[in-house]
Amino acid sequence: MDTVFGIQFKGGVVLAADQSNARSILVYQNNLDKVKQLSSHSAMGVSGPNADLVNFTEYIAKNLALYELANDGTKLSTKAQANFCRNELAVALRKGPYQVNLLLGGYDEKEMTGSLYFLDYMASLQKVPYGSQGYASSFCLSIMDKEYKEGLSESDALLIVEHSIKEIATRFLINQPNFMIKIIDKDGVRVHSFGADPAET
């Protein structure tokens, strides 16, 4: 039921996800942050059961932190981080799979670009200019296909995000009133906007 999507723009990536935490007919909360920060310049939007969302993202984030501690502050590139995630998903797949579908976005100082990776629970991995997970795909992908241009600016990307959210609000059966939108660029990961403050208990 989760809606997660992301768009790469010139100099970064934008990630967006709905904020609903629900199971069956019950909504537990409406201010959940599903775009989890992994390192100083990367984050991933996660679709799936809350347990796996938390477990997997914290496991990856802490392992990335360990890498930096063990290796004199060396950071892993977004590509390396995405492949590390994929490997963890692949190993767990035939034991106790993580039921998470991800969009991993990051900014690399060396190339001065953002990059976006699509991973699913079966440990597939693909670098994409834009993408979405879940039912949202049926509504958003065609909008992104039409409006995305290579080298588009941050504001253009945010406009596409806005259009996508509007489409989902209009046409998707499940009501998703709140969206968390984060931007990753040379300054790191920052919250652009949210529907409901995750900090509010």
Binding site: N71, L76, K79, N83, N87
Partner: protein, 262 residues
């Protein structure tokens, strides 16, 4: 005094030493010399080829230089059989890192992994340490060309130039005076600059000449290895042919002859 404490690797002596580790280091001081020199544009590793018998079939590739992954190689001084185990470890680690991250392993991480493996044989299990010292040469994006030396204790350090194996002290003292101070590459400010690969090759041959003292320098008695980048920034591993090695030896001979004149 040391007798009581030297049979177990996992016991300190009263002086705070691990005798087995020290004996392992001794074993390497009898092995064929290896010189490593970090150049501006690459790395040179030169080793002494000890031909123990004329009946020996020539080695397929090398018994001194081993490729660990596309961007790293090592030179061995010590027990070749022990070295083979560690080289396998290094190759596996490099391969697994690449599988996991889809990126080449940073050189220091590879060295540290091998060294941690060596260290565990000085602390657990009661097995003897590996009687091998390595010179690791590698290239990565973050730090460029790097040269590391490691010994049986599991210690390692980065070097601009170093020598392991027989007569390494003589070799090191020669490097101290000659590395970066030959008139060709002296900067105006008088500070030390690194040589280029060609200069490093000549210096390496000079060092081997010194450590092999009695024996005359000959191409079959040396193995010269270079690591450089090609035009597409790919790492190139190259063991010099007899002809190429002979050229370097000839150049060194000419240099020492003219130096003698002046």
């Amino acid at each position: 005094m040391a007798r009581r404490y030297d049979s177990s690797t996992t016991t300190f002596s009263p002086e705070g030493r691990l005798h087995q580790v020290e004996y392992a280091i001794e074993a390497i001081n009898n092995a064929g010399t290896c010189v490593g020199i970090l150049a501006r544009d690459g790395i040179v590793m030169a080793s002494e080829r000890r031909i123990t018998s004329g009946l020996l079939a020539p080695a397929k590739t090398s018994e001194k230089t081993y490729k660990l992954c596309p961007h790293a190689a090592c030179n061995v001084a010590g027990l070749t059989a022990d070295a083979n185990i560690l080289i396998d470890q290094a190759r596996l680690r490099a391969g697994r890192y690449h599988y996991q991250y889809q990126e080449p392993i940073p050189v220091e991480q590879l060295v540290e992994h091998v060294c941690n493996y060596k260290q565990s044989y000085t602390q657990y299990g009661g097995l003897r340490p590996f009687g091998v010292a390595f010179l690791f040469a590698g290239y990565d994006e973050k730090h460029g060309f790097q040269l590391y030396q490691s010994d049986p204790s599991g210690n390692y350090s980065g070097w601009k130039a170093t020598v392991i194996g027989a007569n390494n002290q003589a070799g090191k003292s020669l490097l101290k005076s000659e590395y970066g101070s030959s008139s060709a590459e002296m900067a105006d400010e008088g500070e030390e600059t690194s040589p280029d690969v060609a200069g490093a090759l000549r210096l390496a041959v000079k060092v081997l000449n010194k450590t092999m003292d009695g024996t005359a320098a000959a191409a079959e008695k040396m193995e010269l290895f270079t690591m450089t980048l090609d035009e597409s920034s790919e790492v190139v591993h190259h063991i010099l042919t007899q002809k190429e090695a002979q050229e370097v030896i000839d150049q060194v001979e000419a240099e020492t002859a003219s130096a003698g004149d002046s």
